[in-house]
């Protein structure tokens, strides 16, 4: 008689990345946000193919036409198709979201890593500079920078990126200080690794999760800021479409053509909401303690 010993099934060991992905996918709202962003990116990328009309082509026979089958979102004061302008406008909003965040992260993350890792005098100096920048409300600093640099989408993105870098620096600095208390950093030092290698090879990869969350939430802020700057005439310049500048123009025709104000606003709202939902989902997935 032979006895068989039933062993418990070995539990599948999952990588932290896979666990985070599973947690993220479990959050319906975050997945909805991601889906909307993917949709907007695809539409913006394929704008010349999907837009029904040329976004800057004027038509004197179609001035301020209400939404219809020919023009789903109506036409503006120059007879331009609003849907086509909203579709092409997504390009400047997304571009501003990505480029501004890259600028802010490009300055803020290395500065935060340096401040946290070096500590002492370097940390004190960098932290005071950041304190001073944070003392100026973000949008006012961005408006002032854009005003001095001159009105254009490029300068608006620089202004937003520079104004927002302190937030990235703070997050990166805090994450660096947190990571430095781990044993693997101590071990890396004990093995004789030079400081720069410990910072770049051992700490930098470990501060990525909070930076990624910050980047996603910052994209929402950057899109709102670009819309605000364009609304104030400091961003994308006409006739090129941008959601903010469309709202600026729409203000003059509120009573005659309310649709001019409705659709670009919905586009901004949906885009920003999606980035916020995705950012919240990413935060919960990457740092379940914060829930």
């Amino acid at each position: 008689m032979s006895a068989t010993l039933a062993l418990p099934a070995a539990r599948e060991v999952q990588s932290p990345g896979r666990l985070a992905l599973r947690r993220f996918l479990g959050r319906k709202l975050a997945v909805f946000g991601l889906a909307v962003i993917v949709f907007v990116v695809l539409v913006a990328a394929a704008a010349p193919l999907v837009a029904p009309y040329d976004p800057i082509a004027t038509s004197w026979t179609a001035i301020r036409k209400a939404p219809s089958w020919a023009h789903w979102m109506g036409t503006d004061q120059n007879g331009r198709d609003v849907l086509s302008r909203v579709i092409f406008g997504a390009r400047s909003s997304l571009l501003a979201g990505v480029v501004s965040v890259l600028i802010a992260g490009g300055i803020g993350v290395p500065a935060g890593l340096l401040a946290g890792f070096a500590g002492g005098f370097v940390d004190a100096i960098l932290s005071r500079i950041v304190d001073a920048m944070l003392a100026v409300p973000f949008l006012i600093l961005a408006i002032a920078l854009a005003a001095f640099l001159g009105p254009s989408l490029r300068n608006a993105m620089i202004a937003i990126g520079v104004s927002y870098f302190p937030q990235f620096m703070r997050v990166a600095r805090a994450a660096t200080l947190d990571a430095m208390s781990n044993d693997y950093v101590e071990a890396a030092r004990a093995l004789g690794n030079p400081g720069w290698r410990v910072a770049l090879r051992h700490i930098a990869p470990n501060i990525l999760p909070p930076v990624l969350v910050q980047g996603t939430l910052a994209s929402a802020v950057a899109i709102l800021a670009e819309a605000a700057l364009s609304f104030l005439g400091q961003g994308q310049q006409p006739p090129a479409p941008s959601w903010g500048s469309m709202l600026n123009e729409a203000q003059q025709f509120l009573t005659q053509a309310p649709w001019l104000a409705i659709f670009p606003g919905i586009a901004i709202f949906l885009c920003v909401l999606s980035f916020n939902l995705m950012g919240d989902g990413l935060r919960d997935a990457l740092d379940p303690r914060g829930r």
Binding site: R128, I129, D131, A132, M133, A135, V136, P137, F138, L139, I140, L141, I143, A144, L145, A146, A147, F148, L149, G150, A220, L224, A227, A228, F231, L232, G233, Q234, L247, A250, Q251, L254, T255, P258, A261, I262, P264, G265, I268, F269, V272, L273, N276, L277, D280
Partner: protein, 314 residues
């Protein structure tokens, strides 16, 4: 307590000094020579040189900064390039308008945001919680200027209840003043209400799980007393600090709100200055805004110490 406040005060001075460097540095980003811009296209070299001398542009950067800072400390923020009026006078005229709007917006935000956060936390995982969270997230994602335009469309254009733009000072006619500022205040306060709601909900959830709340319930106190007297009082402590940070949002939001509703305040002044390339006004507004923000945060810190018994005792 005095040590904590002393340390905070000591932090404020270098921060403001660095802010002044930042604001002065803005001028260096300006394309071209300010003297040429001021003198105009037809000016001769002598006039340009004279302007350069008057503005200290012919000195070194540190000398220019020291001169500028000296003037600022004496309350002289320079002159508007557009109408030659003192920037300080212009700011003093516009600031009360924005302050009225700001106070109204912040009051509305607190009145809506804090109770909504409490309800969301007390009724966690119910339809009320979901609803409060959804409205909060929507508030954070809605562009202020678009909300303003939509409210003008609905309330002023369609219903005709309130004027779509303009401003009447409180001292002139308080009823009309409220009628012209209530809609902008709602617009400006909505985003802050959303943030306050999220902070309050999170702080209340933390407080409701604490031992002292369990003890209060065990004593047989009514739920309303437990929530308001015990949990909320403790939850509000971090909300005060986080709420103070929203004052920056308030000042930023005022720029857009005043533009949409044509309110002649501080925010509209910076926009007009940007349009007119009136750089001394832009610099002045940024400097005053930053100083206000730093001082209001200091005030919040003092309040924080005052309402937190542990810090007060220390």
């Amino acid at each position: 307590m005095s040590g904590h406040l002393g340390a905070r005060l000591a932090q404020v001075i270098p921060t403001l000094l660095l802010v002044s460097v930042l604001v002065f540095g803005l001028q260096q980003l300006m394309p071209g020579d300010p003297a040429l811009v001021l003198a105009g296209d037809s000016a001769d070299a002598q006039t340009v040189a004279q302007i350069r001398n008057e503005l200290w542009l012919d000195r070194s950067l540190p000398a220019q900064y020291a001169h500028w800072l000296g003037n600022v400390l004496h309350g002289n923020l320079g002159y508007s390039w557009r109408n030659r009026e003192e920037v300080t006078t212009l700011i003093a005229q516009k600031l009360p308008v924005t302050m009225q709007l700001g106070v109204m917006a912040f009051t509305l935000a607190v009145v809506i945001g804090v109770p909504a956060g409490v309800i969301a936390a007390v009724k966690r995982n119910t339809i009320w919680d979901t609803l409060a969270n959804a409205i909060g997230l929507a508030g954070l994602s809605t562009p202020t200027f678009w909300l303003g335009i939509m409210m003008i469309l609905l309330i002023s254009v369609d219903l005709g209840w309130l004027p779509p733009s303009g401003y009447v000072p409180l001292t002139e006619d308080w009823v009309r003043s409220l009628a012209t500022t209530i809609m902008p205040a709602i617009v400006l306060g909505s985003g802050i209400a959303a943030v306050l709601m999220r902070h309050t909900r999170s702080a209340m959830l933390g407080a409701l799980g604490q031992d002292f709340v369990r003890t209060a319930r065990a004593k047989g106190l009514r739920e309303r007393v437990v929530v308001v007297r015990h949990a909320l009082r403790n939850a509000l402590i971090p909300v005060v600090t986080l709420g103070a940070l929203e004052l920056g949002t308030l000042l930023s939001g005022a720029v857009l709100t005043e533009q949409v509703f044509s309110i002649p305040g501080f925010g509209k002044m910076i926009v007009d200055a940007v349009f007119n390339r009136d750089y001394p006004v832009v610099q002045g507004v940024v400097l005053v805004t930053a100083t206000l923000f730093v001082l209001l945060n200091l005030l919040a810190d003092i309040l924080y110490v005052y309402i937190n018994p542990r810090l007060r005792a220390a």
